[in-house]
């Protein structure tokens, strides 16, 4: 889940072959210089689009938000376990016209200010005239030739008083893993936008408040607006979801170009707990791999397990089923709470690719255990051991910003409890359903065996994808 799949990289090369749809093999891996810089046609859905540059995943680090590929992952799971996971469906629509909006996400730390500026290509086109006159399309090549001017333009148009713009590390320090001020393409409902990550170093004088000054696009569009969200602490990752509809937004227009950057008041203990509860809850519901794992563990819980040599039969009492489920869920919970806390408190740090790949492997293992039952008779030990790995994965999505400050323990507790509640919600939906189905003659062969096999296949794909940092399916 922490794979940072940059939407659209290294298409520059794919485009080179006219008259043919780009294929994976036409593209090749991206050189560091191309990372996040080469822009592409997201609409074409060419196969080479989602190549994840290694650098981007490192850069996104533990802040890596769930990349756009989760949609297709979810989509794939939906195809396989459609009915059970239908709650993950997220409606998406595109519409053509929007006002000229820029999105500014500001992260305010004591001595540093990070601003992710998102500008639509259409707006930038009015300034840079990427395409030659009479041309109705803008090609990446057109943008790329003006890349350095583009970066300079954005860096000059966004200022923070009392702070100094940090030098652009793009060229000299491409491998350091630090985010760079390179245009980073994202797909929005009205077309492609470019994100620019710019950073400021601020004086230590704490009493001084910082003022954001924004002056982009206005010279070409009188109706341009900058929609600004400010948050205290933390870091913003590229390819994030942008600004949510529900967030607190300040609007800058041609006349009011300045904004006092006031960090949000620290959250109260209750508010912290609540928001972390929600985060944890949503994390489970949005994470197809955790759900798949849970599903695999729950499928046989309504069957009466005997020794290897014997045919399994439906459980007779609900109580036995619940005891079994409780064992599995508790083992999973205890295990991942343990590693989640350890990881969040930086006691143990594992590379995210390793963790994510192992999670996929764990799902494979659990699935195959349902089919062959050769690995373990009891499922709770599996749940416990694999839960340890899942804990690291869950911690990856935990936002550092929310763990900063005085309520660290509380925030961690809230997140943990949220994760449990999310799990219990799934269990509450699944177990009665499975219990009702258990006596059906097709339950075992179709639901348990075939279902596990399907999840096994999906998990295999996940494991391959994560291990090789590619996307097999879109």
């Amino acid at each position: 889940m922490k794979r940072s799949l940059a939407p659209g990289v290294c298409m520059g090369r794919c485009i080179q072959k006219p008259g043919r749809s780009p294929k994976l093999r036409d593209c090749g891996a991206c050189s560091p210089a191309e990372v996040g810089s080469v822009h592409t046609i997201l609409r074409t859905r060419a196969r080479c689009l989602p190549w994840a540059p290694r650098e981007a995943s490192v850069a996104a680090g533990r802040y890596g938000s769930r990349p756009s590929s989760w949609k297709h992952t979810v989509g794939f799971v939906l195809q396989t376990v459609a009915a059970l996971l239908a709650m993950l469906l997220v409606p998406r629509f595109a519409f053509a016209h929007r006002g000229s909006d820029a999105y500014l996400q500001v992260a305010l730390n004591r001595q540093r200010v990070q601003i992710v500026v998102e500008l639509s290509v259409r707006d930038l086109d009015s300034v840079f005239a990427f395409a030659p006159a009479q041309e109705t399309m803008v090609r990446w090549q057109d943008i790329d030739t003006q890349r350095s001017q583009l970066i300079e333009y954005v860096r000059a148009g966004v200022q923070v008083s009392g702070c100094v713009l940090e030098p652009n590390l793009a060229d000299e320090d491409a491998n350091s893993g630090r985010p760079q001020t390179q245009p980073y393409p994202v797909e929005r409902s009205d077309g492609i936008s470019l994100q620019f990550d710019i950073r400021f170093t601020c004086s230590e004088n704490q009493s001084e408040s910082h003022k954001l000054h924004y002056a982009l696009i206005f010279e070409r569009n009188a109706e341009h607006r900058a929609l600004v969200t400010v948050r205290a602490g933390g870091e913003i990752s590229n390819a994030g979801p942008g600004v949510n509809l529900g967030e607190q937004i300040s609007v800058l227009d041609r006349k009011t170009r300045e904004l006092e950057l006031v960090p949000e008041a620290p959250l109260s203990a209750w508010a912290t707990l609540r928001s972390m509860l929600r985060d944890g809850f949503l994390h489970i519901l949005n994470g197809p791999d955790h759900l798949a794992f849970l599903l695999v563990l729950l499928l046989p819980s309504v069957l009466l397990a005997r020794r290897f040599s014997q045919r399994t039969e439906p459980q007779t009492s609900l109580r036995a089923v619940l005891v079994d489920v409780a064992k599995v869920v508790t083992a999973f919970t205890v295990a991942h709470s343990f590693t989640l806390s350890a990881s969040a408190l930086d006691l143990v740090v594992l590379p995210s690719q390793l963790v994510e790949t192992t999670i996929a492997l764990s799902v494979m293992l659990a699935a195959i255990n349902n089919v062959s039952q050769k690995v373990a008779m009891h499922r709770w030990p599996i749940a416990f051991i694999l839960g340890l790995i899942h804990g690291f994965g869950i911690a990856g999505t935990l936002d550092d910003a929310s763990l900063r400050g005085s309520n660290k323990a509380l925030a961690l507790l809230g997140f943990n409890v949220g994760v449990e509640l999310g799990q219990l919600a799934c269990v509450a939906v699944l177990v009665p359903l499975l219990f009702a189905l258990r006596k059906h003659r097709l339950y075992q062969p179709v639901v348990v065996v075939l279902g596990s096999l399907l999840i096994f296949v999906v998990a295999t794909v996940w494991a391959l994808e994560r291990a090789t940092n590619t996307v097999v399916f879109r």
């Binding site: 485009i15 196969r47 399309m137 090609r139 089919v371």
Partner: protein, 463 residues
């Protein structure tokens, strides 16, 4: 020992007292088959996509989104020929206008022409971005001499403000323009139309009287008769204006379409006069034959059906009797308007038709205009824009069924603009909410203006 296999076929299950392997070669074979199937499926899937997307690999902007289905002609470097649709050609034209106007040394003429093109484009396409760009050019021109050029720029600038429903700002600009050059008729015409929209009929008439003597009769007639039509004299206004328009023999298709649309509206308003009801729809249809993409006339056409009592009853769930005729009407609206759905006002009509369709046919709609429109309103609100109060109010009333919200919005909207639809919405929202007194502003207006319109008839009797 004969291995037993767990097959999807329950018939193969054997008595359970024998030892068995549950994951044998058959399962592995099954696994391979499933994997192969998935791979093949994805392959064929992506191959199909590849073919579709062969040509437009270079499209990154959706500037071209509304162009014809991307075909071979859109391969970069190949000039768009006959196969290119009008909108693609228009796009190229816009692009060249824009680039020329953006040059530092562009003349006032170039910038004015580009701004006119942009305003036109906003009207037909509903793309708000172009309006912002036009304003920049106009502001540049408005600073220059001579006066004749500045006045044009100010008036066009006012048109931009009016398009964004900032009527106060538009009137202020027009004030400036008319003071600079009282002989510039375009400014007076625009001023009169904004004042009419605001319900200030006497002031609007004063603006019409300022029109110069040399102006063509049809414009003068349009200015005056539009005001009369709001003051209870729609029948006369229609008769007089149609005589003038007929005599004028307008050659320009766009202008002719405009006048036909206006006449159609007047005819509908004076529907009580014999023959005018059918005449209204006919004129609107004629206008659409000449200019099928004018969103204003398209909405006018759709509203003929959407504001008719049977459909209103369906939308408000008052009557859900099967009605094949209404369903056909709604289907026609959906078909005709779909291509112009980028326009918020058009999208609202589509959402209304979608709602009525699904209620009449008891099917779930295949489209999702409702969700799309909802998002658009949210996005506009986030920007701090309230351009489409009328549409929002109507949406809240008939699609979302949020009566309290509809009433608030309808009141807010009626404070800004006072056309028949605005009053009709406020009356309906107030009645649905059970607070007839909330529509007092509309009732006062109706009392004062004596505006005639079949839609307003039910409300005239119960003030």
């Amino acid at each position: 020992v004969e291995p037993l296999h767990e097959e999807p076929e329950p018939t193969t299950a054997k008595p359970s007292d024998r030892p068995r392997r549950t994951f044998g070669w058959k399962e592995y074979a099954l696994l391979v088959v499933v994997l192969l199937g998935v791979v093949i499926f994805r392959k064929s899937h992506t191959a199909g996509q590849g073919r579709l997307q062969l040509a437009p690999t270079a499209v990154v902007l959706d500037r071209a989104q509304k162009a014809a289905p991307l075909s071979g002609s859109s391969v970069p470097g190949v000039p768009a020929g006959e196969s290119a649709s009008g909108s693609r050609a228009e796009l190229a034209l816009w692009q060249s206008h824009r680039q020329r106007a953006n040059e530092p040394k562009a003349t006032a003429e170039i910038r004015l022409a580009a701004a006119r093109f942009a305003i036109d484009r906003f009207r037909t396409e509903g793309d708000p971005r172009v309006l912002g760009e036009a304003q920049v050019w106009l502001d540049q021109v408005a600073k220059t001499e001579p006066v004749a050029v500045r006045v044009q720029a100010l008036t066009l600038r006012a048109t931009c403000e009016q398009s964004l429903h900032r009527f106060g700002a538009a009137l202020a600009l027009l004030e400036e323009a008319t003071a600079l050059d009282p002989a510039y008729d375009q400014a007076w015409l625009l001023q009169a139309s904004i004042l009419t929209l605001q319900g200030k009929y006497e002031e609007a008439r004063a603006s019409c009287k300022k029109l110069s003597d040399t102006i063509e009769l049809r414009y003068r007639a349009l200015c005056h008769e539009s005001i009369y039509a709001m003051q209870g004299k729609a029948t006369d206004a229609f008769t007089r204006l149609s005589a003038v328009v007929e005599a004028a023999r307008i050659a320009n298709t766009g202008e002719k379409a405009y006048f036909l649309g206006t006449l159609g509206e007047l005819a509908q308003r004076s529907a009580h006069a014999p023959g005018n009801d059918a005449r209204g729809l006919r004129l609107i249809e004629q206008s659409l034959t000449l200019n099928p993409r004018d969103p204003y006339v398209l909405c006018l056409w759709a509203d003929t059906f959407l504001q008719a009592a049977p459909v209103v009853d369906v939308l408000s769930s008052a009557s859900l009797a099967p009605d094949a005729e209404r369903l056909t009407e709604m289907n026609r609206i959906a078909q005709r308007l779909a291509s112009q759905r980028d326009h918020d006002a058009v999208l609202l009509r589509l959402a209304l038709a979608e709602q009525a369709q699904s209620k009449l046919s008891k099917d779930n709609p295949t489209t999702n205009y409702r969700e799309e429109l909802r998002t658009r309103f949210l996005v506009a609100k986030r920007r701090g824009e309230r351009v489409h109060l009328r549409e929002e109010a109507w949406f809240a009333l008939d699609v979302e069924r949020d009566v309290a919200m509809a009433l608030t919005l309808a009141k807010e909207n009626f404070a800004v603009q006072k056309e028949v639809t605005d009053a009709w919405l406020l009356f309906r929202a107030a009645k649905t909410a059970g607070k007839v007194e909330e529509a007092s502003s509309a009732a006062d207006w109706l009392q004062r203006s004596q505006c005639e319109d079949p839609r307003l008839e039910p409300w005239r009797k119960t003030p």
